[in-house]
Each structure stands twice: as C-alpha cells, then as structure tokens.
C-alpha cells in the first residue's frame, strides 16, 4: 500500500509533464491524472484537487499494473514475445521433428500472452484470468521441468519450461511464484451485497 500512496503523490506532481501518449490510459489513474492536470490549468485549484483526490482510490483497489506489478508485467511481456517467437520459429521450420515439444512451446507462449494482458487489465475478471494463467504456468513449468529431467528421452527438445527454465536463468520458475504473491496482495475486495 506504500506504493499506492507513492504513486498518487508522484502523479499529482508529474501530471503536467506526462506526455500525451498516456492519455490512452492503460490505467484509470493515468486518465484521472490527465484530467486533473487539464482542469488545474483552466478551473480553480479546488476542482483539480477534488478530481485527484477521488479518482485514484476507485481503480487502485482492483488493479495490478502498478508499483512492482509493472516490473512483473514487463518481464511477462518479454517472455510472451520470446516464447511466441521461439514457438513460431520451431513450428514453422521443424515441426515434424518433435510435434509435442513444439506444441508445448506454443502453449507456453499463449499462457505468457494471456498472463501479460490480464495482469495489465483492471477488474475482477482480469484478476481471475491472471490467477488461472499464472497457476497453469506454475504447473506447466513444474511438470515440463520434471519430465525433461526424468524422461529426457521423450523430452529432448527445448521449450521455455524445459529443465525448469534453466535456459532462461530459471526466471520461468520464479515468475509464477512472484506472480501469485503479487496477485494475492492485490486481490479484489470481497463483493459488497
């Protein structure tokens, strides 16, 4: 929660210098910041302050794309790109050599893409999708990692998850654990009845 306060403090300072690109609003806070900066110039200062004060609290409770989550999403994005490129390359050039391993590569790539997108989105549905994707990722890296160690005859071909992600500095093993911790810390509040 320390991070969330930090964000709000920073965004009110930096609102004016934020480039126009952020108006596309990956976060609700970015929109609010933009609006606050705009109204502070044209309207009395109270209006601007009211907007900044009210807006960030609403989306901040159900987003995961803030603070350390941004680093997590960035690393997931890099893995989504590299896994997709690798799977695409394997399937296009040498699919017949090891169809199972390369389909597994493609599956891993899809999981990383879903995790990246759902982590970046606010809301309850995105949260559930994130949890599912990260859990699948954890099971995948453990199962594929174990199979590649104990049954190396049938799993000789490299995927992102082979040998628990050793080819990628074991980051594939670390990532779902950090992801689950982050998702738990930023879980949506219980539904109000």
């Amino acid at each position: 929660m320390e991070e969330a306060e930090n964000v709000n403090a920073k965004s009110s300072q930096d609102g004016a210098s934020t480039p126009a690109g952020s108006a596309s609003g990956i976060t609700g806070a970015a929109d609010a910041r933009q609006a606050a900066a705009g109204s502070a110039e044209t309207a009395p200062a109270e209006t601007g302050r009211a907007v900044t004060g009210a807006a960030p609290t609403a989306p901040a409770t159900d987003t995961r794309n803030t603070g350390p989550g941004r680093l997590l999403i960035a690393v997931y994005a890099v893995f989504a790109i590299s896994a997709t490129a690798r799977a695409g390359y394997q399937i296009l050039t040498k699919f017949s050599e090891a169809p199972l391993a390369y389909l597994l590569s493609a599956f891993a790539a899809a999981v990383y893409v879903v995790a990246t997108v759902s982590l970046a989105k606010p809301g309850r549905t995105a949260f559930k999708v994130s949890v599912a994707a990260v859990l699948v990722e954890l099971v995948g890296v453990l199962v594929v990692g174990a199979l590649s160690v104990f049954d190396s005859v049938n799993f000789p071909h490299e995927t992102v998850w082979s040998l628990f992600g050793r080819g990628y500095g074991f980051i594939p093993l670390l990532l779902p654990v950090l992801g689950l911790i982050w998702l738990y810390r930023r879980r949506p509040a219980p539904r109000q009845h």
């Binding site: 991070e3 930090n6 964000v7 920073k10 965004s11 930096d14 934020t18 480039p19 690109g21 952020s22 990956i26 976060t27 806070a29 970015a30 803030t66 603070g67 350390p68 989550g69 941004r70 680093l71 999403i73 960035a74 690393v75 994005a77 890099v78 790109i81 590299s82 490129a85 390359y89 050039t93």
Partner: protein
C-alpha cells in the same frame, strides 16, 4: 564474441546497474536512468548499422539470417517499450523495469553473436 557484443555488454551492464541502483535508492526514473537506456538503444543501433554494412560487403551469417534480424529488431524495440512503460507511472519500480533492458539486451546480443558465427 565480437566488438559489438562487448560494447553492448559494457553499456547494458552499466545501464542496468545505474537503473537498479536508482530503484534501490527509491528514485523515480530521471534523466540519468533514461539516458542510460538511450545509450543501450544507441549501442544496438551501432550493431544494426554495423551488421547491415557487413552483410552488404559480402559477409555471411552462419546461422539463420532472419533469426538474427528478428533478435536485433526485437532488441531495438525493447528500450523504447520500457521507457514508454516506465513514464506512464514514474515510481521507483519503473527504474527496475528500465534495469531489465540492459541485461536483456546483453543476453540477446550474446545470442545474436552465436547466430552470426
């Protein structure tokens, strides 16, 4: 490993250290961290221009050439994406995002060297 790799190794490591240190010191992305990432981009552009010149002058890439260019193109997009992502929310965590660029670029440059030779 050629000179291009060693340039990216030095620049990438320096950039990652600077950005991670700024993050640990709880600083938001500033000119120093942004410029260090820009230096990584510049080093990658030098690699791009150098590679185009080498291919144009008749040198052959040992591995799959489109794999090499794919890596290079992705590496070139990385710093731009990271800077964009980090200025959307300027907190200390964005410096860790920037820190990831140098290390990633260096790993990719190592792979590009393997493909080339």
């Amino acid at each position: 490993m050629d000179a291009y790799f060693y340039i990216i190794l030095v620049v990438g490591l320096l950039s990652s250290i600077i950005c991670a240190a700024a993050g640990i010191l709880k600083k938001a992305p500033n000119d120093t961290t942004m410029l260090s990432v820009a230096a990584v981009e510049l080093a990658l552009l030098v690699y791009l221009v150098g590679s185009i010149v080498r291919v144009a002058s008749g040198e052959r890439i040992a591995g799959e050439s489109w794999e090499f260019w794919g890596y290079l193109a992705t590496a070139l997009i990385l710093p731009i994406g990271a800077v964009y992502w980090s200025i959307l929310e300027r907190t200390r965590w964005s410096n860790f995002v920037l820190a990831a660029v140098g290390v990633t670029a260096l790993v990719m440059a190592a792979r590009m060297n393997q493909i080339w030779y």
